[in-house]
Point group: D3
Amino acid sequence: MASDFRLKESLPELTEQIVATYTSDDSINHLGHCPLPSYEAVIEILLDLKDILYPGYRRRTNLHAGNIRYHVGGLIDSLHDQLTVQIGRALRHEHRVKQKHDDCVDEIDFEAKGQAMTIELLKRIIPLRKTLATDVQAAFDGDPACQTTDEIVFCYPGFEAITVYRIAHQLVKLDVPFIPRMMTEWAHQQTGIDIHPGATIGDYFFIDHGTGVVIGETCEIGEHVKLYQGVTLGALSFPTDADGQIIRGQKRHPTIEDHVVVYANATILGGRTVVGRDSVIGSSVWITRSVSPATTVLLEKPQLRVRGGDDAADELAPELNYQI
Amino acid sequence: MASDFRLKESLPELTEQIVATYTSDDSINHLGHCPLPSYEAVIEILLDLKDILYPGYRRRTNLHAGNIRYHVGGLIDSLHDQLTVQIGRALRHEHRVKQKHDDCVDEIDFEAKGQAMTIELLKRIIPLRKTLATDVQAAFDGDPACQTTDEIVFCYPGFEAITVYRIAHQLVKLDVPFIPRMMTEWAHQQTGIDIHPGATIGDYFFIDHGTGVVIGETCEIGEHVKLYQGVTLGALSFPTDADGQIIRGQKRHPTIEDHVVVYANATILGGRTVVGRDSVIGSSVWITRSVSPATTVLLEKPQLRVRGGDDAADELAPELNYQI
Amino acid sequence: MASDFRLKESLPELTEQIVATYTSDDSINHLGHCPLPSYEAVIEILLDLKDILYPGYRRRTNLHAGNIRYHVGGLIDSLHDQLTVQIGRALRHEHRVKQKHDDCVDEIDFEAKGQAMTIELLKRIIPLRKTLATDVQAAFDGDPACQTTDEIVFCYPGFEAITVYRIAHQLVKLDVPFIPRMMTEWAHQQTGIDIHPGATIGDYFFIDHGTGVVIGETCEIGEHVKLYQGVTLGALSFPTDADGQIIRGQKRHPTIEDHVVVYANATILGGRTVVGRDSVIGSSVWITRSVSPATTVLLEKPQLRVRGGDDAADELAPELNYQI
Amino acid sequence: MASDFRLKESLPELTEQIVATYTSDDSINHLGHCPLPSYEAVIEILLDLKDILYPGYRRRTNLHAGNIRYHVGGLIDSLHDQLTVQIGRALRHEHRVKQKHDDCVDEIDFEAKGQAMTIELLKRIIPLRKTLATDVQAAFDGDPACQTTDEIVFCYPGFEAITVYRIAHQLVKLDVPFIPRMMTEWAHQQTGIDIHPGATIGDYFFIDHGTGVVIGETCEIGEHVKLYQGVTLGALSFPTDADGQIIRGQKRHPTIEDHVVVYANATILGGRTVVGRDSVIGSSVWITRSVSPATTVLLEKPQLRVRGGDDAADELAPELNYQI
Amino acid sequence: MASDFRLKESLPELTEQIVATYTSDDSINHLGHCPLPSYEAVIEILLDLKDILYPGYRRRTNLHAGNIRYHVGGLIDSLHDQLTVQIGRALRHEHRVKQKHDDCVDEIDFEAKGQAMTIELLKRIIPLRKTLATDVQAAFDGDPACQTTDEIVFCYPGFEAITVYRIAHQLVKLDVPFIPRMMTEWAHQQTGIDIHPGATIGDYFFIDHGTGVVIGETCEIGEHVKLYQGVTLGALSFPTDADGQIIRGQKRHPTIEDHVVVYANATILGGRTVVGRDSVIGSSVWITRSVSPATTVLLEKPQLRVRGGDDAADELAPELNYQI
Amino acid sequence: MASDFRLKESLPELTEQIVATYTSDDSINHLGHCPLPSYEAVIEILLDLKDILYPGYRRRTNLHAGNIRYHVGGLIDSLHDQLTVQIGRALRHEHRVKQKHDDCVDEIDFEAKGQAMTIELLKRIIPLRKTLATDVQAAFDGDPACQTTDEIVFCYPGFEAITVYRIAHQLVKLDVPFIPRMMTEWAHQQTGIDIHPGATIGDYFFIDHGTGVVIGETCEIGEHVKLYQGVTLGALSFPTDADGQIIRGQKRHPTIEDHVVVYANATILGGRTVVGRDSVIGSSVWITRSVSPATTVLLEKPQLRVRGGDDAADELAPELNYQI
C-alpha cells in the first residue's frame, strides 16, 4: 500500500519536455546569468528600514539610550551593502530590457550607481521620520478606538501600508526601477491596501481599516487627507495610441486636495478629477468629475425596496442631514 | 565594478544624526528598559491556543487519544508562562502611559496580575470551544460549496477571523490592554477581515469570503448572523468635546439582532442603528437608520445606462422579486 | 515581582477537563491515526510548482541553461513523492467521511491512487505554462503602469491568485478532494482574491489590484476577460430541498463570455446570468439578469446630495458619455 | 573581475561522467528506493531519550512536577513513531544485505518488527535510569574537582559517552542492527571516547577526561570500574580462516573484573586477558596476559636519559612506592 | 505493512511509570522552578565573546573601521544581558545546593550579583586580548607548517582550547560557579583538549595538535610553555579523609615553569612535582618527581624486540643524541 | 530582584576602549574590506562534495537512478559558484599577506583563478571516488566488528578523516591556500584525527578508532597502510636558520612504505625515518630511525612492578611471541 517506484521512471522524460519549453521567447522564465533583485532580500531591507524608522517596537525590543547607536549603526552599515547589490541588479535588469540584449557582460557599473542611490536613500531617513510622525498623529486624531500612538506603530495596517509606500516612493524619486513595486506589493499582500509607489501623498495621511483601498500611480494627495476601507482612486479609461497600444505614463488618477475625507467604498476616477480642499466624499459615492472646495457629496436617499417588517422604504433611507 | 567602500565613510555620521532624532518627545520610537509585548510571542500564543481549540488540524497532525493529553498539557503549561509575561508587559505599558512616567521601577506587580488574567483565560477555553463549534455548524449550513466541517476549521478565512476575535474578546473582557488588538490585526492581515476585539458577537456566526469586512468596536451582533464579503458595520461620525477632541468609548456602531443576513458590500452605520431579528439586508444597501424585525431591504431597481447590445436598461435592472 | 508557580497547580486539572471535551461527536477536533493533508506540505508543493512554472524568479535565482535541468528534475522528483503522500491523505479522509467510519485500516490503496493523480498533474505542467503565458500577456496589455512582463510574474497579486487557481483547478478536474481548496484559500490570504478552484476560466485572464474579488464555484469565464478589485461573481440564493437543507453542487454563479471587462466593485449574481461577449460592466453596477453581447452597462447619473461648495449635484454626477 | 560563466558549460558533461560511476558494484553509493536509517533522526532520538533519562538539564529547562508528565508523555509518543521507522529501515537494510537482493518490495513487515523492538526499548528506560544513577555516583566519588552531581549530568564527557553506550547496548541486545553503532560513533565524535555498543559494562562505571579511550566489542567490564583518558581495551590480532579472511564475532577483547582502576594511556589487550577484581593498572602499562585479583601493576623505574640540569636519571624516575 | 497503532496503548502507562521515578532523591533529574544555566545560552555567550576578542574572522566577516564600533557595541550590550541571567542562575543553583533547600523564593538578589560579575568580566576583555595575542605569537613561532597568524585564530584547535580556558578562568577568578566548567567541557568536545578552568597558565602558551591533552585543576604553568598532543598534567592519587571521602580542593597537579617544552604523550603527575624552567620533557616520558631547571629528560634506549627484517634491535632504538 | 539598568551606562565607554585596541598592528583582528574565506561556506562545500562522493547516505536519502542526475548536477553547479568565491578570497588573502599591503583594490582577478582551480577540483572527483573505494575496502578487511561497507561510509570516523584529507590534499596540489587546512581542522574536530593536508597517502588506507592520530605535513605513506588510535607520525626537532627562526617547508616527518601496520600509540618521528614495506610497529613503540622492510618491532618485555596479587612481574609482561 504505497506508491510504486517504477511509475517514477517517466519523470526524467517529463523533465526534459518541461525544460524544452524554457525558450528565449517564453515570457515566463528568467534564465540567465543576470539575477533579478531577490524578493527575500528586498523584504529584509524593508524590515531593517522599519527598525530604524521606529526603533524598539518589533524585531529588537530591548533597545535604550545605551545601545541604540550600535543597533542603528549596524543596520545602516548592513543596509548599505544589501541595498547596493539589489539596486544594482534592478538597474542592470532595466538596462537589458531597454537594450533588448541578453548578454550579462556589463559596460556600465550598475553597482556603483546603486551605491550612490543607496546612500541618498539613507540620507532621507531623517525627513522620512518627520513625515511618518505626522501620519501617526493623524491616525491618533482620527480613530476613537485608539488609546496610544504606540498601537498605531505596532499594528495599524493603514500605517504599515503608508510606511512602505513612503519608503518606496523615495526610491521612485531616485529612479530605482522594479524594487519600489516589489515593496508596495508586499505591503498590499500584508494589508490589502494597494498604493502605487509613484503616487504623491502629503503629510498627516490616514487610512482606516484599509482593506481594498487602491491608490493609482499618478494620484496627487494633499495633507491631512483621510481614507476609509474600499476607497478607489483610479483611472477612467486608458488612452491608446494610433496602433491601439495603451499610452503609459500619463496622469490617469485624481488629485485630492488638503483636508479631504473619503468614506468607505467611495470611488473617484480620472486624471482631470480634482477634489477640492476641505471636501467630504460620502460612503459609496462614485465621482468622475471635479468637486469644488469645502463640498460634501453624499448619496441621495437611495431607492430601497422593503418586504415584510413595519418600515416604509422611505423611512429606511438615510436621513438627508446625517453626518458621515 | 563594485561598490566603493570609501563612500561608506559617511555612514557613521549619518548614524549619529539619526540617533539624535530619537528624543523623548518623538512619538515613533519606543526606547527604554520596559519592553512592549513581543509581536512574535503573541502570535505564537495565538497559534498554541488554536492547537488546543482544534487539535489535530494544523501544526501537530499525529494526535490521537493516546497522546493528546501530553500535547495539550504541554501547551497549557507553556501558554501559562508565555501569556503571563506578555500580559505583564502590556499592563506595565498601559500603566506608564496613564501615569505619564518613564521609569521602569515597578511599584505594582504586573506579572502577578498577568498570571491571574492568564489562568482565567485558560479556564475559558472550554466554553470557547462550545461557541466555536456553533460557528463551524453555521458555516457548514451556510455554504453549499462545503463538503465537510473539517474544511472549515482547516482553511476558511471567515472562521479564522472569528476564532481570533473570540480569543481576543475574552482578553478584552479581562481588561487586558494592547494584546487583543495585536491579535485581531494579525487576523486582519491574514484574512482581510477586520473585527474589533471589543465587539460583542453571539453564537452561530458566519462570514463568507470575508475580504473587506469591517466590524467596529461597539457593534452588538446576535446569534445566527451571517455576513458576506465587504460588509461594513461602522460609525457615522464621531462626537467631539468642547475642545474639538473626539470622545472615545461611546457606542458608535450598529446592533444586529438574531438571524440577520447581510449580503456583500452592504454598509450599516451608526450606534443607534438596530437591524431587527430575521431581517435581510441586500447587497450594496447602505443604511443609517434602524430596520424592524423580519424586514428585507434591497436596492430598488437601479438606474442603469446601457449602450449597445439588445437590452433596455429596464430589462437589466434586477427583478424586484429576486431573492438574494 | 513575578508569577507564583503555586498557582500553576491547577493546570493539570484544567488539561484533563479540556481533553474530556475532545469527544468523537465534537466537530472541531481531528484526533485519530489518519492525518489530514499537511498545510505546510501543500504550500511547499505550491511553491515548488511555481518554481517549475516560472523558473528563475523567486526562490532560486541563479538558474541558467546549464543547470536548469537539474533544478527542475530535482523538483519534479520531490514533487512526485510529496504530492503522492498528500493526495493519498486527502483521498483517505474523503473516503472515511463518506463511509462515516473511523478506522484507519485501509481497504483501498489511496497512495497508489494519489500517485496516479500526481503523475497526471505533472504531465499538465506544459499546457499550464502555455495558459499562464497568456495571462501574463493580458496583464501587460491591460496595465499602463507595467514596464515589463517580469514584474507581473514577480509581484502582481492578480497573477499570483490566477496561478494558484489554475493549479488547483487541475486538481479538481482530477477529482482530488480537499487540497485544491487549501491552495486557493492560501492564495486568498496572500492576495485578498478568492477564486473557487471549481470555477472554469479561459485564457488571457487578468485581475487588476484584486483585493476583494470573489469568483464562485460554478462560474464560467471566457477568454480575454478582465476584472478589477472588489468584483463579486456570486450566487443569488441557495435552493433548499424539502427538508430545508441546501442543495450542493448546482450552478449558482454567472457565466462571463469572452472579451468582457468588469470594473471595480461590480456585482454579478446568479447561475442563469450570462454576460454576453464584448460587454463592459461599469464600476459598482449590480446585475442579476443576463446582458446581451457588446453591451455597456453603467450606473445612471447617481442621485447626489451636495452641501456647501459651488457645485450643483447634477454637475458632480458622472457624465453620461464617460468611458470606464 | 569575476568568474566567467562560459567556463561552466563543461559542468553538465562532468555531471554525466560522475553519475556514470554510480554503478551497482560501486561500494560507496547507496542509490535505490530503500533508504538507510536517517542519521539526523537517530541523533534526534538519542537527544529525546536523554531528555527522558535526565529531565530538566538541557533542552527543556522549565520542567517541574506540574508539567513533566506532559513533556515525557509527548516524547515517549514521538519516540515510538520515530524509532519504529528507523529500526524498520535498519532491519530491511540488514535483510537485503544478507539476501544480496536489491528489490525493495518487502516480504517481511519490518516496521512491525521495529515497533516491537521500540516498545521493548522504551520499557527498559526505568532500569536504565537506575544504572545511570550509579554511574553518576561513581563519577562524583571519583573526581575531587566535582562539586555537585548536576555537573556530571550536565557536562561530563565520560558520562555522555556511557549514557549513549548504555542506550545503544540495549538496542544491540534487542538485535537492532546498524543504529547502535551510529549512536556510539556520534558519542565518539562528541567525546573522543569510543565504546563499542556490543561491550558489556557493569554499574558504577566512570571514565575521567576520557579522550582516546577505546573499549572493544567483546570487552566484559564489571562493576565499580574506573578508566582514565587514553586507555585501550583492545584486541591482540585477529584470527583468520583458511582463506585468510578475518573471523568476525569471537571474543577478542579483555575482561575487567569489579573494582579495577586503569590509569591513563594503559593498554590491555586480548580476549583471554582477565584483570582480576580490586586490581590497579598503572599509567602507560601495557598488558596482554591476565592479572590476579588485588594486584597493582606499575611501570618499573623507567630508564631515563638526562642532559643538563642537576638531576641524576635515577632521581627522576618515579618512586617505586608511589600510589597512582 | 506498518506499525500497529493499537500497540501504542501501553505508552501512557509507561509514561506514568517513568514519571514516578523522578523523585526528589533521584540524582539525575532537575525538576523544579529554578532553572540551571542554559547550555545553548552559555555557548552563544562564548561565541559572542570570541567575536569581540577576534573581530572579523568567523561569524561576521564584513567588519571594518566604519562598522566595528556598532558590531562590538551591540555584542557588549547583549552579552551584558545574557551573561547576567546565566550567572544569576548559576549562583542561585550553587546557593541551593549548599543550603540543601529546594524552595525557589530568593532571599538573595542573585541577578544583581551576576550583573556585577558580568561587568567585571567585560572589563577584562582588553587584558585578555593582550594575553591571547601572545598565545598567537607562540603558535606562529612554534609551528613550521603555519603561514600566517590568521590561520591560528581561524582554525587551530590548540588556540581554540586556550581561548575558552582563558575566558573560563576569568570567571573562576570572579567566583562564578558551574559556567566555567560548561565552557571548558564544550572546548574539550570541540578540540579533544581538556583544560580545567581552575588551572593557572602564563602568557605565550602553545598546544600543538592537542588531542588528548589533559591539564588538571591545580596546575600552575609559566610563560612560553609548549605542549604536544596527549600530554597529561595530572594527579597521582587523591588524599582521603578519616571516613575515606576524597578531600577536594588541594594542589594535586604539577607546576611547569617558564620556557618548558613537553613532547607528545608525556605524563607529569603530582601536586609537588615541579618541572624547572627551560627544561624539555621527551615524548612518552612519565614523571612523578620534580625536575631541575634546564634539564632534558628523554626515554632511555627502549628495549625493542625485532622479528624479521635486517635490523638489530639496538640499531632501531632511538639515538641517544637525538633532539626532540 | 533583577539587574540594574543604570549600571549598563558604563558599557558604551567600555566599547570604545575595546575598539581602540583593534589597531593595524594587532595580530588578532581581521578588519577591512577583504573578507577571509567563510568557515561556514567551506564546511558546506565539504558536505556537498561528500554528497557527490557517496550519494544516498547522509543528507539526501531518497536517491535512485531516476533522480540522481538532478541531485548531482545541482550540487556540481552550486559547488562551482561557492568554491570559486571562497578560493578567490583565499588567493586574495594570501597575495595581500605576501605583498604586505592592505588595500583591497585588486590588480589580479583572483576569482577567475579560483574558478579555474574549482573546475579542476571538480574534474578530480571521479579518480577521488576510485581511491576512496579502496579505503572502504581496507576498512572492511581490517575490522572484524564491521558487517557491511555501508557502515564505514556512514559512521566510521577514520574514513571521515581520510575523506576530508583526500579532498583537501587535492586543493593543496592545486596551490589553493588556507582552505585545505580549514577542512582538515574541521575533520580533526569531528574525529580527533589530525592529518595535515600536505601529507601524501596511498590507496587502501585505514585508521581504526583513530582518536589522537597525528600525521604531519611532509609524511609519505604508501598503499595498504593501517594505523590505530594515538599513532603519531611527527617531526623530531625543527631546523632553525642563522637567526634562530625555524625553517618552514622541509621534510620533517617519516615515510611509511606499503603494507605497514602501526599499532596504537606508537610514535614514529623524523624526516629521514623510513619504515620499510610489510613491517609491523607494535603498540607504544617509539622510533626515530629507519626500519628495514618486513620487520616487526615490539616493545621488549616491559619492566613491571607488581604489588599484591599472585603474579610475578615476569609473568605479567607480554609474551615475546605474541602477535599484535
